[in-house]
């Protein structure tokens, strides 16, 4: 399988282990990534929080690059990039006046056929069977809390992904590793997102509630699908009071462990909270 790839800015910096682990395991699962040439930022929270036209025009640049490269399906591993791209495409498809404005700005026709795919959808396409076949280590006995956050499932009328309130698609993929996906209450709650710098206290509070619920339900690890969520749930554990640490892994890292890839090759050592207790439990 070959698919277009938009890594997004975080995957070159704070979320570099997400890129590292994806490339490593997708190779094993026979997925070829075709990266967008000279892609630019999607605008993230800051664009849509302050300037609507900018929040649509920035993703449109990348959608037009995908079009030029004849990419039919574009995989955006970052939940925020995925969301901005899919929302931009939806608004451009349904608002001719906006499409005209954006077309004038980026000097490209607006008629994008490309489908935007998130990380869970990518693994769904690869298939549980394929992951099971490629499995080198059974993660039986590990309890994982699958965390979706906000931007995979909302706005549901645009993403049409899984279920807006009770998504379960990540749990099905996790089952292919042999691990048990626990039932818990905070899988679609917000971690505080981009407030991490200007309002760190909000992020620490919200993220702690998520981690506490995962621990309360017996999780050994929280599995995430977004670099922003990862940095809030992992790095901000340093600032949590009366807190017992719990490792936070990207979905690609967790699957990678089941495929027998070493934690170092997956970049698990780049986290702030050590995953050592989890790795000990596996081996």
């Amino acid at each position: 399988m070959k698919i277009g790839y938009y890594p997004g800015c975080s995957l070159l910096g704070t979320g570099k282990e997400y890129d590292l682990s994806l490339r490593k395991i997708l190779q094993k699962l026979d997925v070829e990534l075709e990266e967008l040439n000279d892609w630019s930022c999607c605008g993230a929270t800051s664009a849509h929080a302050t300037n609507h036209l900018m929040s649509i025009a920035l993703p449109a640049i990348n959608l037009s690059i995908a079009e030029k490269q004849k990419i039919n399906e574009l995989f955006a591993p970052c939940a925020a990039c995925y969301n901005r791209m899919i929302v931009a495409k939806h608004e451009l498809d349904n608002t001719p006046l906006l499409a005209k404005q954006v077309s004038d700005l980026i000097e490209k026709p607006i008629n994008f056929a490309v489908d935007i795919i998130n990380v869970v959808e990518l693994f769904e396409r690869i298939g549980v069977k394929k992951i099971e076949e490629a499995r080198a280590t059974n993660l039986k006995g590990i309890k994982a809390a699958c965390y979706y956050g906000c931007l995979l499932v909302r706005p549901f009328n645009i993403t049409h992904f899984d279920d807006a309130e009770q998504p379960t698609s990540m749990e099905k993929i996790i089952a292919a590793t042999g691990a048990e996906a626990i039932d818990w209450n905070y899988k679609i709650e917000c971690c505080g997102g981009a407030h991490s710098i200007a309002h760190k206290e909000i992020v620490v509070d919200l993220s702690k509630k998520i981690l506490d619920d995962a621990k309360f339900h017996g999780a050994d690890v929280v599995v995430v699908a977004c670099p922003m969520c990862h940095s809030n749930l992992d790095m901000r554990q340093r600032s949590m009071k009366n807190h017992q640490e719990i490792p936070v892994l990207y979905l690609s890292e967790f699957i990678g462990l089941a495929l027998g890839v070493s934690p170092k090759e997956l970049g698990v050592d780049l986290h702030f909270v050590s995953a050592e207790p989890l790795i000990q439990k596996i081996s």
Binding site: C9, S10, L12, G13, T14, K16, D38, W39, S40, C41, G43, A44, T45, S46, A47, H48, A49, T50, N51, H52, L53, M54, A57, L58, I61, L105, I106, E107, C150, L151, R154, P155, F156, A164, E165, I188, E189, C190, G192, G193, A194, H195, I197, A198, H199, K200, I202, M235, R238, S239, L270, F272
Partner: protein, 136 residues
Amino acid sequence: MDDSPNQVIRFTQLGFDDKTLKSKTPWLCAGCLTCSARCPQNLDVAKFMDAVRQIALEENIEIVEKDTVAFHKAFLNQIKKHGRAFEFGLVREYKLKTLNLLQDIDVAPEMLLKGKLSLLPHQVKDKKHVKKIFEK
């Protein structure tokens, strides 16, 4: 948060635009879209908050949540300059603007060591259209 989201919407319905635009609430909205997903009146509350922030900036309203504004501006300035987000540049600009100089000095050195905080930005080659969007 000084006003609840429904209060901010009520201000607008009653014509108190000034109260809406001066409220801290839109600036503390993280854009998680939970309210938009669950609103029984089917109102896209998060999108409403996006619009309030944009109008407040356009009309030069004095915004109480200065740090949040500084963050967004510093973030967007990196895209304007490099075409991509640049975390080191963002934090540098944000700290100089807000004088929150000591924030995150507990995690920053470790991020540098882990190679998660690059000192040099990734530059997009063709920045023409990104620049045009910012000039608009």
